[in-house]
């Protein structure tokens, strides 16, 4: 089995338009959640979200590209450019033939759907732009990344709601670890912050009207975000041979299914995924210093997640740190695990643990060190990233400092 390292990272999200900007915001415990700004927002009961601001797609993409790129594709390409440039990789010859792109995404081109449904249903138009389908399909972003960077290997999109990115990165990891590909582009993106996207979530009545406060006793729901996180997963010797900067190592993963309920999380399912990732990475639970929590800020997730962590880690659960950066960038649904992986990289590479902001009242059912409100310096050797999706589909990644 090959070792797998991360040699490039890119992002755009409510906290920043690049990895350095995002990590700086996480370090400061800054909140990227604010009043939503789009058409018909006044008809929503939920009007806050982690919206990407100041993103001028017009300057980045030409007219033809704009007609084909939904906002989630624009985010993906922006983050992919940052990640691939950082890695220093250029894809041609055999590398190009074997390298692919596996991305997570849940909603596809929601902005495109919203605009065109509005046009045919509300405005009564009988003709839509010919690119509606290639724009809204949720593999559009993966396709455009492959074209832009000449990636001719295995490429596809994984859709497992809130765990999409973690499932996608687990696939990319396996491909590099098995020797199938020397490098894979992976991560995920989402752009659901439009009238229809937020209205649908509103219906479930799990959204907060004021803030995302994971693990806090007074938490009252999740807050949506948008953006992308993209990484270059590369075979260790391949990266070393070319002197690439290594951000951290990916050492294992596990996936599990609750097989129980379409929305309510299960402690057993989560615990099996966490324990499975430790087993796959061949590490002892005591080596884990930080967990980037799924931490949605809903009543159900946070207590179930804490119970699962307590079950897997036993007494060590009290000495590790677990934080939810969703409190800052919101829940990016299909892209969330990718943006959250940045907090794991910061913990391992920079020794800085991103805080759980908005934390106000201890909850006895979430009695772990959730790094409340203020970032912390700590030397962490191993970090986990949790993702537990609707459908009861779970994916946990394990990473190590290099």
């Amino acid at each position: 089995m090959k070792r797998v390292v991360i040699t490039g990272a890119g992002t755009i999200n409510a906290l920043g338009h690049s990895v350095p900007a995002t990590l700086a915001a996480m370090r400061e415990g800054r909140c990227g959640i604010g009043q939503l700004d789009f058409r018909d927002v006044e008809r929503l009961a939920i009007r806050i979200g982690g919206q990407v601001r100041g993103f001028e797609a017009e300057g980045r993409f030409n007219r033809q590209q704009m007609s084909l790129y939904d906002r989630f594709t624009q985010f993906t390409l922006t983050a992919a450019k940052e990640a691939i440039e950082q890695s220093g990789l250029e894809f041609h010859g055999e590398l190009s033939a074997k390298a692919g792109v596996v991305l997570g995404n849940s909603g596809g081109g929601m902005q495109t759907l919203d605009e065109n449904y509005r046009s045919v249903y509300e405005d009564g138009k009988n003709r839509v732009h010919p690119f509606v389908v290639p724009k809204l399909m949720n593999n559009a972003a993966a396709g455009h990344v492959s074209m832009q960077f000449n990636l001719k290997g295995p490429s596809f999109t994984v859709s497992t709601a809130c765990a999409s990115s973690n499932h996608a990165m687990a696939q990319a990891f396996q491909m590099v670890r098995s020797g199938m590909s020397p490098a894979m582009i992976t991560g995920g993106s989402e752009s659901m912050l439009c009238f229809g996207g937020v209205k649908a979530w509103e219906g479930l009545r799990v959204m907060s009207k004021d803030a995302c406060r994971p693990f806090s006793a007074n938490r009252n729901g999740m807050v949506q975000g948008e953006g992308a996180g993209i990484f270059v997963f590369e075979e260790y010797e391949h990266a070393r041979a070319r002197g690439a900067e290594i951000l951290c190592e990916v050492i294992g993963f596990a996936m599990s299914s609750d097989a129980a309920d379409i929305v309510m999380p299960s402690k057993q399912g989560a615990a099996r995924a966490i324990a499975g990732a430790l087993q796959d990475a061949r590490i002892d639970a005591s080596e884990v210093g930080y967990i980037n929590a799924h931490g949605t800020g809903t009543a159900a997730n946070d207590k179930t997640e804490c119970a699962a962590v307590a079950d897997v880690f036993g007494p060590h659960a009290d000495s590790l740190m677990i934080s939810s950066t969703k409190s800052m960038h919101g829940h990016l649904i299909g892209g969330t695990g990718a943006v959250e992986l940045l907090a794991c990289i910061m913990a391992l590479r920079d020794g800085v643990i991103a805080p759980t902001i908005g934390y106000e009242e201890p909850d006895p059912e979430c009695a772990l060190d959730v790094v409340p409100n203020v970032a912390r310096e700590a030397n962490v050797a191993v970090a986990l990233s949790n993702a537990f999706a609707f459908g009861g589909l779970n994916a946990v990644l394990a990473l190590r400092k290099v």
């Binding site: 030409n62 007219r63 033809q64 007609s67 003709r127 732009h129 010919p130 690119f131």
Partner: protein
């Protein structure tokens, strides 16, 4: 604007050219417009003239609408607009 001027403006925008670079005997292929570009041009023409163009991208040559050059497109549009009136 005449039909011809409007069509040339649409096609020039699609080809990222100046309208003066598009002539009546230009073909879409000459102008570098690919198959997606053809479909997008047809859509733009339908929107502009509020007509429905019988064009199937699977078999463009069998369509009732001739897109072999700019002049043919202009003639086709004039015919459809007349039929509609």
């Amino acid at each position: 604007m005449s039909t011809q001027d409007k069509v040339i403006a649409i096609i020039a925008e699609q080809a990222v050219l100046e309208p003066s670079d598009v002539t009546l005997d230009s073909t879409l292929q000459d102008l570098g417009i690919d198959s997606l570009g053809v479909v997008e041009s047809i859509f733009a023409i339908e929107e502009e003239f509020d007509i429905s163009i019988p064009f199937n991208a699977n078999e463009p040559e069998k369509s009732d609408f001739d897109i072999s050059n700019v002049a043919a497109i202009v003639a086709g549009i004039d015919k459809l607009v007349l039929e509609k009136a």
